[in-house]
Every structure is written in C-alpha cells, then in structure tokens.
Subunit: 209 residues, 2 copies
C-alpha cells in the first residue's frame, strides 16, 4: 500500500505497490533485516522469515533481547534486498546496481496457538529448503514453547526495483568506455553431509544435478 | 569494540570484536543496510559502501530523504550480512545458517573536502568493481556537489559468525535423517555489454575466464 512512509523521495518511478511484486521478492529472499528503535537508538538484525498470505513470519528464542523488544509491538522496519547486478556506466556518477528490494513498516503480533506456531516453523524451514520439513524428527512441545513466533502485516509494504542497462548522460554516450551489466546470482553449491550422514542418500530436494 | 550494545544476549560465543575479522566481512559485502529512527519510527535502507581504515563510507544524493536525516548525526545502526550456507539438522529446532555478519553503531560525519569526497567515490566504485575508476570519464565538480559523502566510525562494531556442521541434540544424532550444509555463494556472471559497448573489448578486470 502506498503511504507517505512508503513513497520514496528519490527515483519514485522505481517504486511498486502491487502485492504480487512484493510477494515475489519476499519469497525469493533468504533473510530479512529487521530494525527497531529504543529511546531513539536503532537496532537491526538479519533473520530468516517466511511469507504466509499477507503476513511475514519470523521466529526466535523466547530469551532473545531482539524478540523481547519487538514482541512488545513497537514499530519495526523490515528490509529485504536482492542484488541482481552491477551496472557499469561510462561515468562514476551514473554507476548503479540492479536490485529488487522491499521495505515493510509494521508492528509484531505474537502467534500464540501451538498449531500456528508449528505452521510458521514449517513455512520458514521449507522456504529455505523446499520440502525439508516432512523428513525431520517431529517437533517437541518443549521446542515450540522455547520459540517465539511473530507475524507482521504486509499492508504497509513497498518494493523498489531497478533493472536494465546503465543510463549515461547523452554527452557521454559515445565515449569508448565499456559499459553494461554484471549479473549477480546466489547459488547453492553441492550439499556437504556431516559425519552422521555420509552413508545416507542425499534427499531428492537437495540434488542439484 | 565490545560495548553493552555490541554484546549479544544469545550465542555470545559467536561474537567477535577483532578489527581484522570485522574488516574482512565489510570488505567482502556488496552493500550494507543502514537503519535510523525518527520519533521512534525506524527506517532502513540498503546502500553501497566502502571501508577506509576504521571508517565506513557511503554516498547519496544531496536531496535524498535518507541522507538528509542521517547527515544530522543521529544514531544509526549499520548491518552487513554474508550468508554462507544453510545448515540442515535432523530436527527443525536445530536448523541454522552459516553466516558472517557485522553490526555498527555510529553517527555520520559529513565528508566536505572535495578530494576526500572523490576519494570516497573511488573507493565505493572500486569495491564493487575492482580497478574500475581509472577507466571512467573524469568526475565533474557538479557531480561531486550533488553527492553527499558520509563517514561512520567503526569503533563500535562487532561481528557474529557461525560456521560448520549442524549441532543436533545427542539423542537425535543417530536418526537416519540426512544432515549437513548447503554452501551458498554469490557469483558474478559474464558481463553483458550495453548497445554502446558491443564492439569494445571487455576490460581485463571484468574477465571471468
């Protein structure tokens, strides 16, 4: 949703407010950075998350300083960044990056129901490693009790996207300086078993061949 | 430097305060996320940066809302995250990620001297694309005037690092569930010239072969 907070002061043409665009960026990102402030002092922390419909879900230890502050329902800002490429222009000034980013302004709602907490942990785990959860040793009540799950509405979220070639000044366009894009990609390398798993078959969802 | 703010409430054994460790993470990261608060409302923004000795340098448009807030010298929190791997345990509870992260608490100092501003832009450009600057059309006074450069001391910075295999509960160790690590890597793909550069040779610093 476009609000004063989600309207950028610069490059407004890069701003997007459609849910589909925002969801696709959130669904691809492996972590988010959550910021909050206490007495004017900002704090921020990278953390795993998942999206369920119009909510973003995180989890953490019930004892964590971060969780205990944020669960109070103070305002947070959640930032997600996918860096897609380096944009090389003919001047330093026109250098840029291609990216897809999302910012969310929200307050935490604590997820209390046991099944909903488990569901959030399933979503967070399967977001990072699709199909993982069914293989795991079943969760225990103690583990769920020790875990806080927080949900954040995506109502006040916006995306910013830059794609494509550099935009050099017209007077620079014919300079014999190489310009273009270096695409960046996050890749998953071959899975490395720990000592307990060298004789176990690699699960189908971890195969890269 | 270890201060109350840089001492984690959880997993204290993952915390590091040596300059070398902090610098190496900052030097590898392609962007940082800067957070600040106005009237208790946190804001955060991903941005390019460079490190020079014990300072972190960023740049932005003189007109940007973000720059104009931060240049006032309000407290900021700078977060850098390198996600090195997904850590798959035999229980959901013991799943984790391998990462190297840095958090910096600081306030901005505006870099005013012309040559120091140019130097910061050289460092930021060459951090993302080593050796790039000497190839570029020379900066103009107008470009430098339109750009704000801010410096942040790294005095109050700390790193958190997790490496290695999953740590399952002893009673789970013999379960026939595959456990181990999926390494993650950010790769630069082959450079793509824009229309002006298809006939120009690829600079040596962009070659990947």
């Amino acid at each position: 949703m476009q609000t004063q907070r989600t309207t950028p002061s610069r490059s407004a043409k890069r701003a997007h407010y459609e849910a589909e665009t925002i969801y696709s960026i959130l669904d691809e990102a492996l972590y988010c950075t959550i910021s909050y402030a206490v007495d004017g002092q900002p704090w921020s922390l990278p953390t795993a998350f998942a999206r369920e419909d119009d909510r973003l879900l995180i989890h953490g230890s019930v004892g964590s300083h971060f969780i205990r502050e944020v669960e109070k329902g103070i305002p947070v800002c959640i930032s997600v960044t996918l860096l897609d490429g380096l944009v090389l222009a003919k001047s330093g000034f026109s250098h840029s990056v291609n990216y897809r980013s999302v910012v969310v302004f929200a307050t935490a709602e604590k997820v209390e129901a046991y099944d909903e907490k488990v569901n959030a942990l399933v979503l967070i785990t399967n977001k990072l490693i699709p199909n993982r959860w069914p293989d795991l040793r079943k969760e225990t009540e103690s583990e769920i009790r020790k875990t806080t799950v927080l949900a954040f509405s995506l109502e006040e979220a916006s995306a910013k996207i830059r794609t494509g070639d550099p935009k050099d000044e017209p007077e620079d366009a014919n300079l014999p300086i190489w310009s273009g894009v270096i695409p960046l990609e996050t890749v998953r390398l071959a899975a490395i078993p720990d000592a307990s798993s060298t004789a176990l078959p690699l699960p189908h969802y971890l195969r890269t061949d």
